[in-house]
């Protein structure tokens, strides 16, 4: 037990400061003030985007300090975060998850595959990105996008905004 406490103390605070410049993100579109609950669905990704999402939850990035957290149920979530090119086999599950979410809600496509199919574009087994299911979805490209990019984009989403919601809800 002492080793654990000692190691915690020696490690110190790992979280890196947020970038000062205004975060790049798809236009802020959720009327939430520093409280964003995300439900992630893997629609056929190769797992690299998932690894980056896991890294995002790590102590270097600490998304909770901005009120961003991943939740286990779509009913608790504001944002549906999709990775993968949306395989035909996952299409129904994706739609069901979106239906289970409570208004107001939005969808975000993370990674090249979710944006436009990525390297799998053109295969008859995929729908070539989230746009095929939810048109007009905001996108974060990358193969995979690094946690810094992800954090910047998500921060942008959880700022308070005035104005209406776009069509995706």
């Amino acid at each position: 037990m002492y080793r654990i406490i000692l190691k915690i103390l020696k490690t110190g605070l790992l979280t890196e400061p947020l970038s000062v410049t205004s975060p790049e993100s798809p236009a802020p579109f959720l009327p939430v003030a520093k409280s964003l609950s995300i439900r992630h669905v893997d629609a056929g990704s190769c797992n690299a985007c998932e690894l980056e999402l896991h890294a995002l939850s790590g102590s270097y990035y600490a998304p909770e300090r901005q009120g961003i957290r991943f939740v286990s149920s779509p009913r608790h979530a504001d944002l549906l975060l999709v990775t993968g090119p949306v395989t035909c086999h996952m299409e129904q599950a994706l739609k069901d998850t979106h239906d289970a979410m409570a208004f107001p809600k939005a969808v975000l496509a993370v990674g090249d595959c979710a944006c436009n199919g990525g390297v799998f574009r053109g295969s008859p087994a995929v729908r070539n990105g989230v746009d095929a299911i939810f048109p007009g979805t905001a996108k974060i490209p990358g193969c995979p996008p690094s946690p810094n990019i992800l954090l910047s984009a998500l921060r942008g989403l959880s700022r308070p905004v005035s104005g209406d919601l776009p069509a995706s809800s």
Partner: protein
């Protein structure tokens, strides 16, 4: 009616106090856990933000569930808020509209547990069922231990009314007696079990098959979810206040003088900060028990409670 109004005033004040302490304590607990995980914590007021956001969302009722599901969150919340009147927060002499002892409190908690479990099972999903039955298993094992701990702590004052118990201990000797130490340890174990903390349950888990408490909340959304989460935070604070009243009452105000109450408020703050730190530390250092070990854990609590009870008669009388 004349005698009722001042009671109403203290009651509302007490409910408001506990209702606000709950999210603040949760925020503090999360700060402690974040710092122990070497990360910058969220704000102390994050639970307020999360719940006010939830209030602005729509509330979905799953197909196939009945009124039980819809009414469980407000019922649970109301019961928990009412039960906050049964524990002393600042002073031991205030009278509130609710009149009951620690056993009534245990009973209300049992009712809350049953309502939550029924609400979860009502949805018809396999995980609601899973969470509901696991919660009942933990609860039914914790109850005998809780009752025995209350008896142990109440022997000194001769009454199970928490206000009187706290008063008796406070004005007595400062040395902790063995029976109180055993009882206190047993109460700690019960607190961890009843409030779904590690090592019984992981409040931040994302593994649906291992969930106990979280599994019961999977189908709630919007305001219902906010009420359930707030209710769980209130339950934690009530258990802490009960533990403080039974085992660490020094600092509670005796008379109703304002300066006494403010000083009591300071002590309460200190105790809650310490409790949050200890809880956070325990959660960081321990791992979660295998589910079949949970009865062993609760049996340990029961054993400690018996030891406390017996040691009073053997060592202290």
């Amino acid at each position: 009616m004349n005698t009722f109004l001042p009671f109403l005033g203290t009651s509302l004040f007490q409910m408001l106090l506990v209702g606000l302490l709950a999210p603040l304590f949760l925020g503090w607990l999360n700060i402690v856990k974040a710092l122990l995980s070497n990360r910058t914590p969220a704000s102390l007021f994050q639970p307020f933000r999360d719940w006010s956001k939830l209030l602005s969302k729509e509330s979905i009722v799953p197909q196939g569930s009945s009124d039980l599901f819809r009414w469980a969150p407000p019922a649970v919340f109301a019961l928990l808020l009412t039960s906050s009147l049964l524990v002393p927060a600042l002073g031991t002499h205030g009278k509130t509209v609710a009149f009951g002892d620690a056993l009534v409190l245990t009973g209300i908690m049992a009712l809350v547990r049953v309502l939550m479990a029924l609400g979860a099972i009502d949805t018809g999903t396999p995980f609601g069922n899973l969470g509901g039955r696991r919660e009942m298993m933990v609860g039914f094992l914790a109850e005998p231990a809780t009752v025995l701990v209350i008896f142990t702590a109440s022997i000194l004052s001769g009454s199970t009314m928490t206000f009187q118990t706290a008063d008796a201990l406070r004005s007595g000797t400062l040395l902790p007696t063995p029976s109180l130490v055993f009882g206190g340890l047993a109460f700690l174990l019960i607190l961890l079990g009843e409030n779904a903390r590690i090592p019984i349950d992981n409040p931040s888990t994302h593994l649906e098959l291992t969930m106990i408490h979280e599994a019961m909340l999977l189908e709630y959304s919007g305001p219902s979810l906010a009420l359930m989460e707030w209710g769980s935070a209130i339950k934690l604070v009530i258990y802490l206040l009960l533990g403080i009243a039974l085992f660490f009452p020094w600092g509670l105000a005796g008379d109703e003088g304002l300066s006494d109450l403010i000083r009591a408020g300071g002590f309460l703050l200190l105790k809650l900060l310490t409790a949050g730190f200890v809880l956070g530390l325990l959660e960081t250092l321990m791992a979660k028990l295998r589910i079949f070990r949970v009865p062993e854990f609760m049996t340990l609590a029961f054993l400690l409670a018996i030891l406390g009870f017996l040691s009073h008669f053997v060592l202290e009388v």
